[in-house]
């Protein structure tokens, strides 16, 4: 019996055929690190509990939906890097009560059983997560899905996958998220958006000029960015559905690098003062009152990013003659240096992004003239280099505070890449040498709106049924 099952079940670590990322054991290159800075670089070999999700059988017109639901959820679980996704052979007995002993023998820690019910007009996905080790039903939920072929179908499935992550680990999943970024456009550059699994990339802005620095509103339905479309560069806001752009704030001179506060009430951004750049805040609820929050004569301050409590910002400044990351209270408070000052060197640390978990700030810094991704605690401790290969720039945290997306050349494999900072696993999100300045959204969970989704939305869908 045991040998038969062993033959019947194929367990493969990261065996899904569509998995693009591979575990990369990054070797430390000690000689590339300034000798007077202590930099941690090794990834911990972390245990990922095995999860198995048997095929869903409906035997009716919902079978296609069931198959794609399983494929999407399994890939999400793989990309989330919290589970080791295990593949099941076709002859595993799935009928009858859950055989915990069998799954335990196979090395699974979690068993995800799914069923698809209802009708194509209002399908329901029922997920039950079993704890194989303790032999109990961890949680169960019925997810109402949009009609088959609806543009929000994938997002609804991503949300279900994130729920599984929350049941098993108590952590935030990253499947129901999007990444905004900059890519080449007809007049320079435009803002684009893509799902967390690399699906459904589309252009959001149509400015035919230079558009840069997208930043997500916490609500996840809008992106602020800077554009030259009015001649004088200013901060605009794009709504996702439909992609409509409106002016947010335009001070004299160059306005750049917008960032929303976590409560969505304040926008921080850089703007020109006496020919240099300083950081301002702008009251989004009253639509007024730009106030300056940095005061450094003769130097630039820009690229603000809020701490999760909204009381502090990290930002980029060249006030010490080198480019560094600072942290300060808003609106008042004096800046404190976060990145190490290295005497007599060309230091270039830029693009800070404060983790939604609050404990780390990601940025890129030069290692022998080539930008690499680092993280550091907001008090300046625990500097850690995350990348080695090629140019790596402009990191942005996922809502789980564990994954970062960044622009990378990876020695020829240009694009946006996603790194799990815990395990070091890395995968490419978007291909292209022209893609840059990624910004990861928060969790997108507004499930109530799929009924009034406009029919002319240009979101792609997997079935092509529309």
């Amino acid at each position: 019996m045991r040998t038969m099952v062993a033959k019947a079940v194929v367990l493969l670590a990261v065996a899904l055929t569509f998995t693009t990322g591979r575990a990369v054991a990054q070797q430390p290159e000690r000689d590339s690190i300034p000798t007077d800075v202590r930099v941690g670089i090794l990834y911990q070999p972390s245990f990922r509990p095995g999860i198995v999700m048997p095929p869903i059988s409906t035997g009716d017109e919902l079978q296609d939906l069931a198959d794609s639901a399983r494929a999407i959820i399994l890939r999400d679980l793989d990309y989330g890097d919290r589970f080791q996704v295990m593949r099941v052979g076709e002859d595993v007995p799935l009928e009858g009560p859950v055989n915990y002993g069998l799954w335990d023998q196979l090395g699974a820690v979690w068993l995800l059983v799914a069923a698809v019910e209802g009708s194509p007009a209002s399908p329901i996905l029922r997920l039950s997560l079993h704890d194989v080790v303790f032999k109990l039903l961890q949680d169960v939920q019925a997810f109402e899905l949009p009609p088959v072929g609806h543009p929000d179908s994938r997002l609804a499935l991503h949300r279900a996958a994130d729920q599984v992550v929350a049941w098993a680990t108590g952590s935030t999943g990253i499947a129901a998220t999007k990444i905004a970024y900059v890519a080449e456009g007809t007049g320079g550059s435009e803002i684009y958006v893509v799902d967390s699994d690399g699906y459904g990339a589309r252009r959001l802005s149509s400015d035919n000029t230079i558009a840069l620095s997208p930043a997500w509103a916490p609500s996840g339905d809008r992106v602020a960015y800077m554009s030259y479309k009015g001649g004088d560069p200013a901060i605009y806001e794009l709504s996702l559905n439909p992609g409509h752009s409106s002016l947010l704030v335009d001070l004299p001179g160059l306005d750049l690098t917008p960032a929303y506060s976590p409560d969505g009430r304040t926008l921080a951004f850089g703007s020109t003062v006496d020919g240099r750049t300083e950081i301002f805040t702008y009251d989004l609820t009253r639509r007024c009152c730009a106030e300056r929050t940095t005061f450094a004569r003769y130097s630039n301050s820009l690229s603000p990013t809020f701490a999760p409590d909204g009381k502090r910002i990290a930002f980029n400044s060249d006030r010490l003659g080198q480019l560094h990351i600072f942290v300060k209270d808003v609106p008042d408070g004096s800046p404190e240096l976060v990145t190490p000052y290295i005497y007599d060197r060309s230091v270039h640390n830029a693009g800070p992004d404060w983790s939604p978990m609050g404990d780390r700030i990601a940025f890129h810094g030069w290692v022998q003239g080539t930008p690499q991704i680092f993280t550091v605690a907001p008090n300046g401790r625990g500097l850690r280099q995350l990348t080695q290969v090629g140019r790596n720039e402009d990191p942005s945290w996922a809502p789980d505070g564990r994954h970062v997306v960044f622009a990378s050349s990876r020695d020829g494999s240009d694009g946006l890449w996603i790194l799990d900072v815990v395990s070091g696993r890395i995968r490419r999100l978007v291909r292209g040498s022209d893609v840059r300045l990624p910004a990861w959204s928060g969790s997108l969970d507004s499930p109530s709106h799929f009924a009034d989704e406009s029919a002319d939305s240009d979101v792609n869908n997997p079935q092509g049924a529309r």
């Binding site: 320079g188 850089g270 006496d274 750049t277 630039n300 820009l302 980029n316 693009g351």
Partner: protein, 196 residues
């Protein structure tokens, strides 16, 4: 052959004489004296010629003036368009760029109607966002230089294109050096266009 030709001519001559005699025999036709008009015609031609010469001269002068103006315009525009280059991650005016700026100061004094947009640019090495700020400072550095020579502030606007508008699309020292620059766009040509 020659004798035959002479014979023919002789014969033709005889016929011609006969015709003349017959003609004299009829009413003699009065052949009118030709009008003595050449004098007047001559005067008019001369005047037209002079007018034409003068017009030609005027055209020549105008063309010369246009050429001169065109050359002057080209001189001014090329001085204005001369790029100002910067060192890596710096926005201060390099000493070897002062002569470029001095030429600009003198033509801008000469043509007070000219207004400019000063465009700061960077090489690709710094961060995309920091380069926007750096480009702004480069534009501002040149604006300040020009203002320090008493030129009117209202004649200059600044913009930064960061690393978004490279002159040379390549990743080497030469390309970077070319790309760390201020460009100059003439917004108003002043009397270079009004023609006085």
């Amino acid at each position: 052959m020659a004798s035959m030709w002479k014979k023919n001519v002789g014969w033709l001559g005889t016929v011609a004489i006969a015709v003349v005699i017959v003609g004299c025999g009829g009413a003699p036709e009065v052949v009118p004296e030709p009008e003595p008009e050449p004098q007047v015609v001559d005067t008019r031609d001369e005047e037209a010629e002079r007018a034409a010469r003068e017009a030609e001269e005027a055209r020549r002068l105008a063309a010369e003036e246009a050429r001169r103006r065109e050359a002057e315009r080209n001189r001014v525009v090329s001085i204005i368009n001369e790029r100002v280059f910067f060192d890596f991650d710096r926005s201060d005016i390099r000493s070897d760029m002062e002569s470029v700026l001095q030429r600009k100061v003198s033509v801008l004094r000469e043509y007070p109607g000219i207004t400019l947009r000063i465009e700061g640019n960077c090489d690709e090495r710094g961060s995309n966002e920091y380069n926007l700020a750096l480009g702004q400072r480069r534009a501002e550095a040149v604006r300040r230089y020009l203002l320090s020579y008493g030129l009117e502030a209202g004649r200059f606007t600044t913009i930064s294109y960061g690393e978004e508008r490279p002159l040379v699309r390549a990743s080497n020292e030469d390309a970077w050096a070319q790309n760390r620059r201020d460009d100059f766009a003439i917004a108003d040509y002043g009397r270079l266009d009004s023609g006085d």
